[in-house]
């Protein structure tokens, strides 16, 4: 009886998954992207890329996918329908991560080997600006209103605040050791920055660029040194953040209002980044060492499946698919 009901619910949820979609995962050591069907949780396509693909994101209308091919020193533009590489964008050396300005036209790229943030016009395919930042820039974010870009530098240990109108730095704020990832909250009131070696997430007040909170993590049985926050994502209602903790092999669930850690979810080994399914019911984390993707049930806050992908899965991005199913 219960089984039948469960099967029915499962069937219903599959049928009502109006927002079908795919999760695109870059495999750093395979030079490929694994495309996972967000409903069947199967790898449905594998797409070749340049060398050492890491950061990945889609254009606003999902008609283009941009991939940082770090060791090819290029950002590649791929047609997501065909998997064909359309062209490379000039990106500066060793692009690791990037962020697309809300104007859908300017890519802000962190050039890890060059201590530079490069701004590229994706239509004109040219470099608009290069901004000197700290050593080993990595995290990259642009505010939703488009006014501020932030680069974090791993060795300099700073968030560099860039005025997108002038492409000049207007603030440089220290964070804990080895900052990896930065995101503005949906209302742009806060900037969150994860520090991998420091083991913390720093929350900045955007208006003043001052530290508002610092989130720390503790998992029983896991040494503090191994808790290394990297990628994170907010739920669309802005109440919760999921934070990947690297070699701690857990994702933390953080209350984004109180900054309290509400729980930890066990995932694969060395968890890097993550992406939600189109309906936000599932969260997909890339696990670099175990070479798989963990699928998390967002409501239940537990892992439900792992999906084998290529070697060293790193970046993740969601693509909705119309008319699927």
């Amino acid at each position: 009886m219960r089984n039948a009901a469960a099967a029915l619910i499962l069937a219903l949820s599959a049928a009502t998954a109006a927002a079908a979609g795919e999760i695109w995962v870059t495999n750093e050591k395979d030079n490929t992207i694994s495309v996972i069907d967000a409903d069947s949780l199967e790898v449905v396509r594998t797409i070749r890329t340049g060398k050492r693909p890491r950061g990945i994101l889609f254009s606003r209308d999902f008609s283009r996918v941009y991939v940082c091919a770090s060791d090819s020193d290029a950002v590649q533009v791929i047609d997501p329908a065909t998997g064909e590489i359309l062209h490379d964008l000039p990106s500066g050396e060793d692009p690791e991560t990037f962020f697309l300005h809300p104007d859908d036209r300017h890519l802000y790229i962190a050039n890890e080997d060059d201590a530079i943030t490069t701004v590229v016009d994706v239509v004109a395919r040219r470099v608009v600006a290069q901004i000197d930042v700290g050593i080993e820039p990595e995290g990259m974010a642009v505010s939703h209103d488009g006014r501020i870009a932030v680069t974090t530098s791993e060795t300099t240990n700073m968030a560099h605040w860039i005025d997108t109108a002038t492409h000049r730095l207007f603030a440089n704020t220290l964070v804990d050791s080895r900052p990896r990832h930065a995101r503005f909250t949906a209302d742009d009131a806060e900037l969150w920055v994860s520090s991998e070696i420091g083991g913390t997430v720093t929350v900045f007040d955007t208006a003043t660029q001052t530290e508002k909170a610092k989130i720390r993590f503790a998992i029983p049985g896991v040494h503090a040194d191994l808790i290394q926050p990297v990628g994170f994502e907010f739920t669309p209602d802005g109440t919760t953040a999921f934070v990947a903790l690297g070699p701690a092999n857990h994702v933390a669930v953080v209350n984004a209002r109180s900054f309290a850690v509400e729980g930890y979810i066990v995932v694969g080994r060395r968890v890097w980044h993550m992406a939600f399914s189109p309906d936000y019911r599932r969260l997909f984390t890339t696990n670099g060492v175990s070479g798989d993707v963990t699928v998390i049930d967002v409501a239940k806050r537990e892992a439900i499946r792992s999906v084998k992908v290529g070697r060293f899965p790193w970046g993740a991005a969601m693509r909705p698919v119309k008319g699927a199913g």
């Binding site: 006014r147 207007f170 050791s177 070696i197």
Partner: protein
């Protein structure tokens, strides 16, 4: 609204102005080197680079400058190299008159002589070369921090890995120099600590040109050793170890001086962001980064990190911060480095590697410690004879 105020304020100030920059801070460091006559070695393949160590310090100096420009912190690095037989103490006095921050690359006795100068009291000296345990024990000095790993940290890392593999039976070939014998003593101590047996030892006695006779000579030399899992070679100057590998009577792996080697760094470390540091170093120095380069890099970066976090440049404030639990330096090895507050030794993972790949970044999982697993490598607090660090 608030945004436009921020912009206006920023436009008035320098584009690089940072909120944390309160006042301009100037940080001058001297890299003081006592040049030594190195013993001749059999092979001419790997001469010791003249800028060994120094090249790491220079890279870290550039890293610090890059951070400092956002904070109004100014860094300079002066290099003073004293020829063999030269007056190191006079050079040290002059350096200390210019700045109380001193990196020292010198043998243990010279390091102590510098630390005990009247002019050095209140200075902050960082040892980037000498690995002797006594410098961290009975001969420790409050004004000296050690970034160079204690010799025992490397030996412990190696023995942990052997124990982790359950390769518990070893034999050892010991070179003829005092440094070789000191190294062999560390291997014996570490082997006992981690339950590794050294079933027999042989002194290295060859004085022929091994480059042309290893094929015949080495099997005979190793034939009478009892069976073992691993052959250890104590060869501090990298003299003969390379001729042992693949020339032994029994087909066994070699560890210590060649084969499986423990050091603070190796050119094969690539995870934890290390590939970036390797690339930056290679671009700057035109060669691969070695352990001594990494140690000097770490020393300058540690000072830079302390200046960045405290906004201070005086040695007392920097020393206090470096020894505090707040100090956590990213050293591209997966765990932050920090200083042991009881003797001033930097605790950090040790790379146990062969020529082609990292085998493990020690400590090995499962070697537990009540405070920090990194303290399973080297002399731990309860055994320490150091009394100069008041806690």
């Amino acid at each position: 609204m608030r945004w436009s105020h921020v912009c206006a304020a920023a436009a008035l100030a320098s584009a690089l102005l940072a909120e944390v920059a309160s006042a301009d801070v100037s940080v001058a460091v001297t890299y003081l080197r006592q040049e030594v006559e190195r013993p001749p070695v059999l092979s001419g393949l790997d001469p010791v680079p003249e800028d060994l160590g120094l090249a790491g310090a220079e890279l870290a100096q550039r890293d610090n400058v890059s951070t400092g420009r956002f904070l109004g912190h100014d860094y300079s690095l002066e290099v003073v190299s004293v020829a063999p037989g030269g007056d190191l103490l006079d050079a040290a006095r002059q350096a200390l008159a210019a700045s109380p921050l001193l990196l020292v690359e010198a043998p243990a006795a010279d390091l102590l002589a510098v630390a005990d100068l009247a002019e050095a009291q209140g200075a902050l000296i960082i040892n980037v070369a000498a690995g002797e345990a006594t410098l961290r024990g009975a001969d420790c000095r409050a004004n000296v921090l050690h970034v160079a790993p204690e010799m025992g940290m490397k030996a412990d890392a190696l023995m942990q890995v052997l124990q982790g593999r359950r390769w518990t039976d070893t034999v050892m070939i010991v070179g003829p120099t005092a440094a070789d014998r000191a190294l062999a003593a560390e291997y014996r101590r570490a082997a006992a600590k981690f339950g590794i047996r050294i079933r027999a030892e042989k002194d290295w006695t060859f004085d022929t040109d091994l480059r042309e006779s290893t094929w015949a000579e080495m099997p005979r030399f190793t034939q009478d050793l009892p069976d073992h899992h691993v052959l250890l070679v104590a060869d501090a100057a990298d003299d003969f170890a390379r001729y042992v590998l693949h020339n032994t009577w029994r087909p066994r792996p070699v560890a210590g001086g060649t084969g499986l080697v423990a050091d603070s760094w190796a050119p094969v470390v690539e995870a934890w962001g290390a590939a970036q540091l390797q690339r930056r170093f290679e671009r700057a120095a035109g060669r691969k980064m070695r352990g001594a380069d990494f140690d000097a890099w770490t020393a300058i970066r540690a000072l830079g990190e302390a200046v960045t976090r405290t906004g201070a440049a005086d040695p007392a404030a920097l020393r206090a911060y470096l020894l505090s639990p707040d100090f956590a330096l990213d050293v591209f090895k997966g765990r932050p480095a920090s200083f042991r507050p009881w003797n001033g030794q930097l605790r950090q993972p040790m790379a146990v590697a062969n020529d082609r790949a990292l085998v493990l970044m020690a400590p090995v999982e499962g070697f537990l410690h009540r405070v920090n697993e990194l303290d399973t490598l080297g002399t731990d607090e309860p055994e320490s004879a150091c009394r100069a660090f008041v806690r």
